[in-house]
Symmetry: C2
Subunit: 374 residues, 2 copies
């Protein structure tokens, strides 16, 4: 792959300046040295790491110090179950699954049905709880190892979680919560407390195993303030390690207005979309194409602003050579947007066909994963 051909996501994004986020949040960039260190353990690097889809971290070097000294880490990530899941939600799961495979890590997957209930005015607890189990089908379909993966609903596992959350909550003042989460006096007390529930999986394995076990949280960068402000501040006060983290960028909206969002049906491809829906949405996606075919043949397309390209880059084309060839041909006006769209549609539909089959199968596997009993 020639230098200059590959565009990193945080450089092309019009909305989000990811390098700025690293400075603002005080996280660290995943640099070549760190990638080399990861590669030492994984053999090959996942393309999402290589390409900077996962671009930022906290304490990964410390985590590997521990790992190399025989202190293995476990993984923690989660989902706010307020509706159906789309491709953007699956992105962090891809690397989480890869990390589980490579490091044989246990994974705690938190379904925050409590959070979504107290945040969403129109959702009942019964609804967010139902989404927890419905969304779990998508999580399971990603291929996590049932022997190493615990999925749980905050509401249904409160018998275990509330007790641990209290320990965090005792050390978290409203003043701090306000600063970290931007709460106001009108914030409801359920959401205020939930912040402590979100910290629990970051030390739960240490509670169960009665010894300090490092935790790695793969998550989208926007969640960093939460973990920085609560879990990383308070866990050391309880005698636990600060959780390490690895951060990804957002899969953009197909219509190019920020990140993929469930609230705008056409901005996102849902895991349950059929082939025609996928085709329709991708065909209407924003690209870097020109106003006329003629102009595009002459000037070439602009992959640096093209959403279809970003989808290939971030999630659906793991072959670097194929991708850079496509960029080259686009820039020279040799391929048109329609070609890339068709290519992406096939990629997504292949993925979803497989995913939907596994998702269906997962309906019978829920009990294998929901093992955190009260």
């Amino acid at each position: 792959m020639k230098k200059g051909f590959m565009i990193t996501p945080w450089e092309v994004s019009g909305d989000i300046d990811y390098s700025k986020l690293i400075k603002q949040f005080g996280t660290e960039k995943i640099n070549d040295e760190l990638l080399k260190r990861i590669k030492k353990h994984t053999g090959k690097l996942h393309f999402m790491l290589r390409r900077g889809v996962f671009f930022s971290h906290r304490d990964l070097n410390w985590l590997f110090d521990q790992y190399e000294n025989g202190n293995k880490f476990y993984l923690y990530t989660g989902r706010g179950p307020s509706g159906k899941m789309h491709l953007g939600h699956l992105l962090p799961l891809v690397i989480t699954k890869w990390l589980q495979d490579k490091f044989k890590s246990k994974l705690y997957f938190q379904m925050t049905d409590d959070e979504k209930f107290v945040v969403k005015r129109n959702l009942s607890l019964e609804e967010t709880n139902r989404f927890a189990y419905e969304n779990a089908l998508d999580v399971i379909a990603m291929g996590f190892d049932p022997k190493k993966t615990v999925i749980f609903s905050d509401v249904d596992s409160a018998g275990i979680l509330y007790k641990q959350a209290l320990k965090v909550a005792k050390k978290l003042t409203f003043s701090t919560a306000k600063a970290v989460f931007g709460f106001t006096n009108e914030t409801n007390v359920g959401l205020i407390f939930y912040t402590s529930m979100q910290s629990v999986p970051a030390f739960l394995e240490s509670v169960f195993k009665k010894k300090n076990i490092p935790c790695l949280i793969p998550h989208a960068i926007d969640q960093d303030p939460f973990f920085r402000g609560v879990a990383r501040e308070i866990l050391p006060k309880l005698g636990y390690y600060k959780p390490a983290a690895i951060h990804c960028t957002f899969l953009p909206s197909l219509t190019k207005d920020g990140k993929m969002s469930s609230s705008n049906e056409n901005s996102a491809i849902f895991t349950t979309d059929d082939k025609e829906e996928v085709k329709f949405k991708v065909m209407n996606a924003f690209t870097g194409g020109r106003d006329t075919l003629k102009e595009q043949e002459k000037k070439g397309g602009r992959p640096e602003i093209c959403i279809v390209y970003k989808y290939l880059y971030m999630m659906f084309e793991d072959n670097d050579k194929k991708l850079s060839k496509r960029v080259e041909e686009c820039k020279k006006g040799k391929i048109m947007c329609k070609d890339c769209k068709r290519y992406l549609i096939d990629k997504i539909n292949d993925f979803l066909e497989d995913h939907q089959r596994k998702r269906k199968k997962a309906e019978k596997e829920l009990d294998l994963f929901f093992t955190l009993k009260n």
Copy 2:
């Protein structure tokens, strides 16, 4: 009993003006009409009602409207388990037990080990949880019917309670919690959330029975703002009745500095005190006696400021005639403080001997009462 001889507790109290509290909190005085209505159902009135030890209420008339229409009520009360229990803690339990007997009511008894953990800087969750079960021995010793009584620890029953508390918490802003409980920005988020947990038993029976069941909460008057500000405000928004309440005054400190308190060992008689400790504490209690025996024989004692008298009045002498005779003789200088102290010591020690026997027996009965499983 002649009029003028009996002094109501809120008239004699130097520290707390109970009539003022009724106005300030906006509760209602338990008047003769209401007492008559209660008596209609109970046959006899408990002396604590007759004497105004329980002096204030909310919605008791509504509760009896419901009762007389066949909609029976259940009882809810609780205890913050932060240490051993004293006689002042047992006072509300006496009337609760009486109400259970007379109305065949189910009782939910909440041990708020979560609250005490987040409030008390020096107590661990393990300690408050241990106190929950230790204090339950005192509750059981009061004679509650195991078939009609559910005692539970918030921490150990969180699997059931958290879900219900979230429904309250979603409708409770920090702003309201601040106004009701006097929270500041430095209050921890565990305590902020706990306020919702305290509301749960006021509608839990309705949740279980899937219909609206009236709830009566016997409690000390100082807790009124909590139930007024949260449970009574929010439960109707969830489709449940406002809980009714019946309020008692405080058993005063033996040393006459406010209410009995666990933090001052000599101010309180603990349920586990032995006969000698009781004797020592009562012998050192504050009375209405004069500086010399001679002066007292001449001027008489002052029962209106006497703590020994208050203990007899509020809790240990249920015989009105005996009590008013004692007041009369005291005022005439015919009996000295020593006589009343000895009389009270015998009363308390008789009570505690029986209580401690039942308390010991209760160690084997915990399972009969802790039936709210996650």
